[in-house]
């Protein structure tokens, strides 16, 4: 099943961000206890655990916002103590839950900040800001001149991600970046972040307390408790063989359903049969496992047809909730299939055009494998 995921498995990549035997204290309380963690390069590492487990502290150790009291953190082979704190931080994008956009600056000035600190030319900064906004799918003409208080939560967090990518840093540190938005927006932001990450292949350290988010995004999953690492492995392995009862409890009761969040729609989709007319019988054999999709001339699906119990049924597609996106999880596909009552879910691209379908039987095969 592993080949369904684009990312080659973890052990093959080199590490250039390492924490060896580190400890950190807040006053007298130990937040991290003799902890060793090697972050795989160009992969997304998720730190997860109950609150107070030290996951945010761990993250903040990497850019020196928290000083370690023992041990050593290496960045590209050098101890971070040897590097200037500001240079270190400028080479790592930083995204936090409360975003922290400068309220007195426009979106452009906010996205511009790190390049400006690094002394980039004005023209290349402007170009960079425009490109970054396109990357997070916000129209630069509309958004560059806006102020943070004119943005919705989802938009602001996209700007937060764009700002962190400002100077194209090799590392991104993200502290519960999607924690403060509603579930629907969160799913959207996750989809978009998966797309961005596949394109840019940054070394990402991502802190969350949402296990579904963790399983969806992680290439490498680190489960923490009381300042220590309980288990660190690929999410597939952790789901298959939890190290102990704590991990098992943490993963929750429906692990087979959680497995579905490991895969995105684009890996399991097959070509869809579609046409602009409603004569589904001409296209569908009774034993066809998928659907026939009626589309408009642009390719946007209008309704789906399928054989169910000896007759053809039609289900209209009225809104974006009736289709899934390329980076939606199989769990979303599953819920879509169940709610529409069709044997497959329509997958659409960024412009809403049909680009394939995910069939129930494929999902079934994956969940039992």
């Amino acid at each position: 099943m592993a080949e369904l995921r684009t990312h080659p498995q973890i052990p093959q990549t080199h590490t250039f961000l390492k924490a060896d035997n580190i400890s950190a204290h807040y006053g007298d309380t130990a937040a991290l206890k003799d902890l060793t963690l090697h972050i795989p390069a160009n992969r997304l590492t998720v730190l997860i655990g109950p609150s107070g487990c030290g996951k945010s502290t761990m993250l903040r150790c990497f850019n020196g916002l928290v000083k370690i009291s023992a041990g050593r953190i290496e960045y590209e082979g050098e101890s971070i103590r040897a590097l200037s704190e500001t240079d270190l931080r400028r080479s790592m994008g930083y995204v936090i839950q409360s975003i922290g956009l400068m309220p007195h600056m426009t979106v452009e000035e906010n996205v511009d900040l790190v390049p400006r600190l690094l002394g980039w030319e004005r023209a290349s900064r402007k170009e960079r800001a425009t490109r970054l906004l396109q990357l997070v799918q916000l129209d630069p003409e509309v958004y560059l001149g806006k102020y943070p208080n004119e943005l919705s939560g989802g938009e602001a967090q996209r700007i937060g991600v764009a700002r962190a990518l400002g100077a194209d840093p090799p590392v991104l540190l993200m502290d519960e970046p999607f924690g403060a938005v509603d579930p629907l927006t969160r799913e959207q932001l996750q989809n978009e972040f998966i797309r961005i990450q596949r394109q840019l292949k940054k070394t990402v350290i991502f802190v969350t307390h949402d296990i579904d988010e963790a399983i969806r995004l992680a290439d490498f999953l680190v489960i923490m408790k009381d300042g220590q690492i309980i288990q660190a492995d690929t999410p597939e392995k952790i789901l298959a063989t939890p190290a102990n009862e704590f991990v098992e409890n943490f993963l929750g009761p429906n692990r087979s359903l959680k497995r579905l969040t490991l895969f995105t729609a684009d890996h399991c989709m097959v070509e869809a049969i579609s046409g602009t007319d409603a004569n589904a019988k001409a296209y569908l054999e009774p034993e066809t496992p998928g659907c026939y999709w009626k589309v408009d001339p642009k390719g946007i699906p209008l309704s789906g047809f399928a054989w169910v119990q000896g007759k053809i049924i039609e289900r209209p597609i009225n809104n974006s909730g009736h289709t899934v996106q390329k980076y939606s999880s199989l769990r979303e596909c599953m819920s879509n299939i169940l709610s529409l009552g069709l044997p497959s879910a329509a997958v659409v691209d960024e412009k809403g055009r049909l680009c394939g379908e995910v069939r129930f039987e494929t999902i079934q095969k994956i969940s039992i494998s």
Partner: protein
């Protein structure tokens, strides 16, 4: 969210109108002030319609113009001095290194505020002598409180997430202060300065007690001569100066209101 955007776009039109309106008031007030202090005939005309029996409408030795000049001078000097000192101390005690002194400074500041300015003048007289110097000291101490207090509150009101992200993106201490914190504390600081200016404008009248000049001269001689016209004349100018100052601050920082 949509509603918010709507109101934001509505606001885009009003600042321009508001600006022209403020500019208009500013020019109107300034013209009134200049006409009043420059022409003794105007002073006489206005005062005699209110107090027909006063007899004397101008100060015997000094013109209103001279007194206004001295008054503005000492007020601005004192405000500038307390702005400089207040903002610097305010910044220092909101840094990590200076946080321990914050309570002490605030208490000391409140304590200084309880000195009546006239007492300061009398106490400072043996050291600083006659003239504007003891008056300046009194005004400075008296107007430090609002500026220092507001500077501290202004820096405290900067959201911790903004500071965290500023540090996280690799700003140095001074960049953090100048790029992230100062612009956000600015409205509060300006409110403090405005407050101090108005406070000083009124209090500067007591400078006359010690020969410091200013519009207090005409007010005090009006009081001793029991001539309300003279008192009113000084008061008119002080009020106009207060209104004009207010307009200047509004123009400087339109977001405030």
């Amino acid at each position: 969210m949509k509603q918010f955007k709507k109101s934001a776009s509505l606001n885009n039109q009003t600042p321009r109108k508001a600006l022209t309106k403020r500019l208009f008031f500013f020019i109107l007030l300034l013209t009134t002030l200049i006409v009043y202090i420059y022409f003794e005939s105007v002073q006489r005309f206005i005062l005699s319609t209110i107090f027909p029996k006063a007899g004397q409408y101008t100060h015997s030795r000094k013109t209103i113009l001279e007194m206004t000049g001295a008054h503005i001078g000492i007020t601005l000097f004192a405000t500038a001095l307390s702005t400089l000192v207040g903002v610097i101390i305010g910044i220092l005690v909101t840094r990590d290194a200076g946080k321990d002194f914050q309570r002490l400074v605030l208490r000391l500041n409140a304590f200084i505020q309880t000195f009546p300015p006239s007492a300061v003048i009398i106490l400072a007289f043996p050291i600083l002598g006659f003239g504007w110097k003891p008056a300046l000291l009194a005004l400075f101490l008296y107007s430090l409180f609002p500026i220092l207090g507001n500077t501290i509150v202004g820096f405290q009101s900067v959201s911790p997430s903004v500071i965290d992200s500023a540090r996280g993106m690799g700003m140095t201490e001074s960049q953090q202060l100048l790029i992230a914190e100062f612009p956000q504390a600015m409205p509060m600081i300006l409110t403090g300065i405005r407050h101090s200016y108005i406070l000083n404008l009124g209090t500067a009248a007591i400078a006359a007690v010690i020969g410091g000049g200013g519009l207090g001269t005409i007010i005090i001689s009006g009081l001793t001569l029991r001539n309300s016209a003279l008192v009113l004349s000084g008061t008119i100018v002080i009020s106009l100066l207060a209104f004009i100052g207010e307009q200047v601050f509004q123009l400087l920082y339109p977001a405030q209101s």
